[in-house]
């Protein structure tokens, strides 16, 4: 057990624990705050995986924008501060079984794959992942089309969201 592995296990426990709080806590603002803990844990995982750019982007996009939007939406769709009534469906135990089965199925499927417990080579120091990413996003024989399509997707989302939510008559 190396220090890195212990650190990974702690991060993983924090992620899973806070994710459980997201789906079970009664107070929706608390659920959004727990989601932020989960997302921050995922950012730490990206840092462990040497994906610095994605780690920072995770914090910028998820915590800085998506979580804020969630908190705004929770505040916008409530008549009072307290959450009344049950927060889970009646058949929640059935759903828990479905989720457990999904996890079991995924686990079984993954462990039968021969690359399951692969280890990675050491990360070359001075490897410019951000520059590589930029060139991959721009070069015509790589991902230039997804790059432009993402822009169109965001445009469509903006137009659609603005139209749906605030169509004044």
């Amino acid at each position: 057990m190396t220090a890195m592995q212990i650190f990974f296990l702690i991060t993983g426990l924090v992620i899973l624990g806070s994710a459980l709080m997201v789906v079970t806590t009664r107070n929706l603002i608390h659920a959004a705050l727990w989601l932020i803990v989960t997302l921050f844990g995922v950012a730490v995982l990206y840092a462990i995986l040497n994906a610095s750019f994605l780690a920072v982007v995770q914090v910028v996009v998820y915590i800085g924008a998506i979580a804020i939007l969630f908190i705004f939406a929770v505040m916008l769709t409530r008549k009072e501060m307290r959450d009344r009534g049950p927060q889970l469906n009646k058949g929640w135990w059935l759903n828990a079984i479905i989720a457990l089965l999904t996890f079991g199925g995924l686990f079984w499927m993954l462990q039968s794959w021969n690359g399951f417990s692969k280890t990675a080579a050491d990360f070359p120091s001075g490897y410019d992942a951000v520059g590589q990413l930029g060139r991959a996003l721009i070069s015509p024989d790589a991902f230039v089309l997804p790059f432009e399509v993402a822009s169109v997707l965001l445009l469509a989302a903006l137009v659609g969201a603005v139209y749906i939510a605030f169509n004044r008559k």
Partner: protein, 399 residues
């Protein structure tokens, strides 16, 4: 290895040999050295923060034709220590109905988000926390933790004014974040890297404020809005919502918000210096030694901080609709146009001689500035004619 030219490594080596000489494991010694470095840097910033309280009070006093603190010690320099003692021994009130955990966490996160920024500031060529290759986005990430702390503070303190103040503040923060990110892209393009060290190194010959003056100006305006300072201090419009999101905070918790705000202003002064004013470069003076470079950077950061204070104590508060319209209808489009033009001109001119390159970039900015001013003039003329037309129509109706 010389103390004058590489103080950090000199001390680190000395500490390392000392600790290993005591029979300590190599990795533990390395960890302790890193820890000492972090603690020293953060303590330095906290001590500086105390000094900033005095600077801010003294400067605002001069702007308002007063003397400012002048009783405790020479020039009142010990006033902040009296303030700190007062804050510490003050009773800490938690209002009924507050969400205790979130309520206590918010001021801590607020100060932490500012302290985190100092991890990437290159104080000198050899004195810096860490040379992160995603520095520019890291600034935004730390800022988003600050935004979060505002929402947490307001929601958990169970107060109407706090919530209204936080909504306003967050709306302004997230709106002005867009031009700020867009202008941070420009030094990134010019230096070819997001790392702060690389950006400062790229300004050895010419500061980016010469190559992209419009971007520097836009960044300053967006930074002032990010700080929630006048003319963008709607979050604490005293006559409307008392003190904004930290209305229910007393004692040391309020002190943390206050300390965070002051240090944030100074930090953005520092980033303005790093991104546009050449960082620790000052016409070759930084070659005298890293400690001189640190002094240069702090002087430039202080200049940025002073400009922010100057604007704060001179300009009146804006209305929120004007503020958001100013951002979305003016600052954001301008920032993106500057970004596109800079990227284009940089690519077109990069193979020419440096004189042509600098002149070309500067001329592009001047031309763009002229076009923007012309558009604004046309717009305001139309607006004036419209309002005058309305006014004369009402006058006519009255007769």
């Amino acid at each position: 290895m010389n103390f004058w030219f590489d103080p950090v490594n000199f001390i680190a080596h000395w500490l390392n040999s000392l600790l290993v000489g005591w029979g300590m494991a190599e990795w533990l010694a390395a960890l302790i050295i890193q820890l000492v470095g972090v603690v020293v840097l953060i303590s330095l910033m906290m001590v500086f923060d105390v000094f900033l309280v005095w600077v801010e009070r003294k400067v605002v006093a001069r702007f308002q034709d007063r003397l400012g603190p002048n009783r405790v010690g020479p020039f009142g320099i010990f006033q902040p220590f009296a303030d700190i003692i007062k804050l510490i021994i003050k009773e800490d009130i938690t209002p009924d109905g507050a969400d205790k955990v979130v309520y206590n966490l918010a001021p801590i996160l607020s100060l932490m988000s500012v302290l985190l920024l100092w991890a990437i500031v290159p104080l000198a060529p050899v004195i810096f926390g860490v040379d992160l290759n995603v520095g520019a986005l890291y600034i935004v990430a730390a800022g988003s933790i600050g935004t979060l702390s505002i929402i947490m503070a307001a929601w958990s303190s169970n107060n109407k004014y706090a919530l209204i103040g936080a909504f306003r503040q967050v709306a302004v923060l997230i709106s002005f974040e867009i031009p700020m990110i867009a202008t941070m892209l420009i030094p990134t393009i010019l230096a070819g890297s997001m790392g702060m060290n690389e950006i400062v190194r790229g300004q050895q010959t010419v500061w980016y404020v010469v190559l992209a003056p419009l971007a520097a100006l836009t960044f300053l305006i967006a930074a002032i809005a990010e700080l929630g300072r006048s003319p963008f201090d709607l979050n604490e419009a005293e006559s409307e919502i008392v003190a904004g999101f930290h209305i229910e905070y007393t004692g040391m918790k309020f002190g943390l918000f206050y300390a965070g705000e002051l240090l944030h202003a100074f930090t953005f002064g520092g980033f303005w210096a790093v991104l546009f004013l050449g960082g620790y470069h000052f016409f070759g003076l930084e070659n005298l030694g890293p400690l001189v470079a640190v002094v240069i950077l702090f002087a430039k950061a202080m200049f940025g901080y002073w400009v922010i204070m100057w604007i704060r104590y001179t300009v009146m508060r804006m209305r929120i609709d004007h503020m958001l319209a100013f951002n979305w209808k003016f600052l954001t489009p301008v920032a993106f146009v500057v970004l596109m033009l800079t990227a284009l001109m940089n690519t077109l001119l990069r193979n020419t001689s440096s004189v042509v390159y600098i002149a070309g970039m500067l001329l592009t900015n001047v031309l763009l500035c002229w076009i923007i001013v012309e558009i604004l003039r046309g717009f305001s003329r139309a607006e004036r004619e419209r309002t005058e037309g309305v006014a004369s129509a009402t006058v006519a109706a009255h007769h």
